[in-house]
């Protein structure tokens, strides 16, 4: 299951760090952030609850960059 989300992050290094953190979240098979397109492509692990997982992603990313925003 692949999904692309519009995101808001305004520093490239933060985007890198968010990507690393997002990949550690349970339920995420792989997450990539395209800073230039302001997009996050997420591949969910089988059986994962998208909404819950994305909330968790948002939380860990906000820890890295308080201004991080995902359009869910």
């Amino acid at each position: 299951m692949m999904k692309t989300y519009q995101i808001e992050v305004d520093c490239a290094n933060c985007a890198n760090l968010c990507e690393i953190e997002a990949n550690k979240v349970e339920g995420i098979a792989s997450a990539t952030i395209n800073f230039w397109a302001q997009k996050m492509t997420v591949e969910f692990a089988p059986g994962a609850d998208e909404k819950k997982v994305m909330k968790a992603v948002m939380k860990v990313c906000r820890k890295v960059e308080p201004d991080f925003e995902i359009e869910l």
């Binding site: 520093c11 290094n13 990539t32 397109a37 997009k39 492509t41 820890k63 890295v64």
Partner: protein, 627 residues
């Protein structure tokens, strides 16, 4: 400007004015300290807050932390030394914020520019309802609906023209500036701009499967496949920042301790100042920003030229291309059989062509079709009498009351005509009229106009070998290879043999060199996948090509292969420049800082200035038109 940018700009202006006033109006003691501190907090509160959160969340060594430590350190020094010079701390924070603002603005601007370049997404489709044209979202148009495209509008969905004629501007898709003429019955693809007449189009694909959507998806996802350079940079920055922090700490503590131990003055203030300068220089932003931006711009520029690259990693591999292997039919040649010569004719060429076309008028064989195309008219069937097809030999027909034999040499033998062989390669069609030899027609695949210059350009771009693989006969392959100046060719290959040949070449090349395979993608999928870079020609219409390849050329012009290589070289060149420039300047500044020759101002330049220069340089990758 976003809201955040506006807010920060106001903060920058307010605190700049504040700082200038503070320097003109003389104040002393606590009041002075208080005012400067207020100014410092106005400009730096968010940095301090982020630094605090970073520490709480166990993420110590980010740039906010560095700036906070450096400026707080500078204030502490000023208090400790009782100099009352708080200017530096405030100014460092101010300049850092100016740099951040400028960076965010430049980044936002370039992102918009690149996105605008790639904006081929149509906004609406005109659908006729109850005699009126209404605009609807292209998403909602069902396959098989009729849509109307007026001059100046984008074609929103793939389809077939059912009414009207016009010329289309395909440059947004292919980079080709010559307009394409279309009329009733022609297939059109979304993203083209209608230039002249009103077209009514019957859609053949839903919006999601239309060319435009496929291209956009491809380009947008390109950033997800990261190149080695990008991976290197993100690894590098993860090690780099902590390393610099530890060095800064060492710089602040070790030299004074050693000096004290040697019985000299420790000069603590001096060394701490140097350590703080160190911290300001250390931010890896220039690298982290400019490297992906260069790739993004390179991919954007290429897509503007009709070259779709599926990821930064492929762009990187493309720059190392030393071997290019071509498929012949459809790639170097047009893949369409044409009459290329009429020889030894006893009647004039047109008459001979007419006889051949009429005799073959009942056949749907590709050869018969090319004869009819060369004839150029609807065959006048009333001129044709009885037609007798002799399988494996040709056709016997009665035309204008004459007995015409059209076929190969065996047929000529059987009708007793003394035929002449041809010196040209291709398919030879002999014709005899009333048993007497009347000449032959040569039909062959035609080499593309730009194929030879495409190969020459590749050579100029530093490609070592251009090799052709074909399932065609030896003689044909030899001819084409010679005409195009190829370094080698393999003929009479089955699809499986092609993979084997490519593997042989792959085994022969050295480490960093890469091999690109160029094919038309329909039966070349295994080879496209096996090669380091698979390049598919002519994406218009062929899903298989888009799927299997790493690079897709929107039109099937062989010149674009060299162009793709050149774009990748330019892009990689810029990446290298940025990496060397940024690391170089930082290293020099770090050494100067450690030795005590650099002050905070130089440090700010090393951080923000380098970053802005790198971003501006990265944008150059977008300009690929004249490569």
């Amino acid at each position: 400007m976003t809201r955040k940018q506006k807010r920060n700009l106001i903060r920058i202006i307010v605190s700049s004015v504040f700082l200038i006033v503070l320097n003109i109006v003389p104040t002393t003691g606590l009041l002075r300290a208080g005012l400067f501190l207020t100014c410092y907090l106005v400009i730096g509160y968010d940095i301090l807050r982020k630094a605090g959160r970073g520490i709480v969340n166990g993420r110590m060594f980010d740039e906010n932390f560095l700036m906070a430590v450096a400026t707080v350190g500078a204030i502490a020094l000023a208090v400790y030394a009782k100099t009352g010079d708080y200017n530096e701390a405030v100014a460092v924070m101010l300049f850092y914020q100016i740099g951040e603002w400028f960076q965010s603005y430049a980044v936002g601007k370039s992102r918009k520019n690149i996105n605008a370049l790639m904006d081929i997404r149509p906004d609406y489709a005109n659908v006729e309802q109850e005699g009126k044209l209404i605009q609807v979202s292209p998403d909602t148009v069902a396959v098989g609906s009729e849509i109307v495209v007026r001059p100046g509008e984008k074609i929103p969905l793939d389809g077939v023209v059912v009414k009207g004629a016009s010329s289309l501007n395909t440059s947004a898709l292919t980079g080709e500036s010559l307009p394409r003429e279309v009329t009733v019955g022609d297939a059109v693809i979304s993203g083209c701009v209608n230039m002249r007449g009103v077209l009514t189009i019957c859609t053949t694909k839903a919006f999601g499967e239309s060319t435009v959507s496929r291209i956009l998806e491809l380009v947008e996802n390109a950033g997800s496949r990261k190149s080695k350079s990008e991976k290197f940079i993100s690894r590098f920055s993860r090690i780099y920042t902590p390393a610099v922090c530890i060095s800064a700490l060492a710089l602040a503590i070790l030299p004074p301790l050693v000096l004290t131990a040697l019985g000299k003055s420790g000069m603590w203030g001096d060394w701490i100042y140097r350590a703080l300068t160190f911290l300001v220089i250390s931010c890896p932003c220039a690298l982290v920003i400019s490297v992906p931006l260069s790739f993004f711009a390179g991919i954007g520029g290429a897509s503007r030229e009709g070259i779709l690259i599926k990821g930064s990693n492929y762009l990187e591999a493309l720059a190392q291309t030393k071997y290019v292997v071509f498929d012949k039919t459809g790639t170097l040649t047009q893949g369409v059989f044409q009459v290329t010569g009429v020889h030894h004719n006893t009647v004039d060429e047109d008459t001979l062509l007419a006889y051949a076309a009429l005799a073959e008028s009942a056949s749907s064989h590709p050869i018969a079709q090319s004869l009819q195309r060369a004839y150029g008219k609807e065959p006048e069937l009333d001129r044709v009498g009885e037609i007798q097809e002799i399988s494996g030999h040709g056709v016997l027909a009665v035309i204008d009351g004459k007995r015409i034999a059209v076929g190969n040499s065996k047929l000529m033998d059987s009708v007793g005509a003394a035929y002449q062989d041809c010196h040209q390669t291709g398919t030879i069609i002999h014709i005899a009229i009333d048993g007497a030899y009347a000449g032959h027609i040569v039909i062959s695949d035609v080499v593309k106009q730009d194929a030879a210059s495409g190969v020459a350009e590749l050579k100029k771009a530093g490609v070592k070998q251009c090799i052709m693989l074909t399932g065609d006969r030896e003689a044909v392959a030899k001819d084409v290879a010679a005409a195009l100046g190829l370094d080698g060719y393999y003929s009479q290959l089955l699809p499986g043999d092609k993979v084997q040949r490519v593997e042989e070449i792959l085994a022969g090349k050295s480490g960093r060199e890469t091999l690109a395979f160029v094919g038309d993608g329909i039966n070349d999928a295994p080879v496209l996948a096996r090669a380091d870079i698979g390049i598919a020609m002519g994406a218009m219409g062929s899903d298989a090509a888009v799927e299997a390849a790493d690079v897709v050329l929107m039109d099937d012009n062989p010149l674009k292969i060299a162009k793709a290589v050149k774009i990748s070289r330019k892009c990689l060149g810029i990446v290298k420049q940025n990496v060397y420039f940024a690391i170089g300047v930082k290293l020099v500044c770090l050494i100067l800082g450690a030795a005590g020759f650099a002050n905070m101002w130089l440090a700010i330049f090393a951080d923000v200035g380098v970053m802005v220069i790198a971003v501006v340089n990265a944008i150059r990758a977008l300009q690929v038109k004249n490569l």
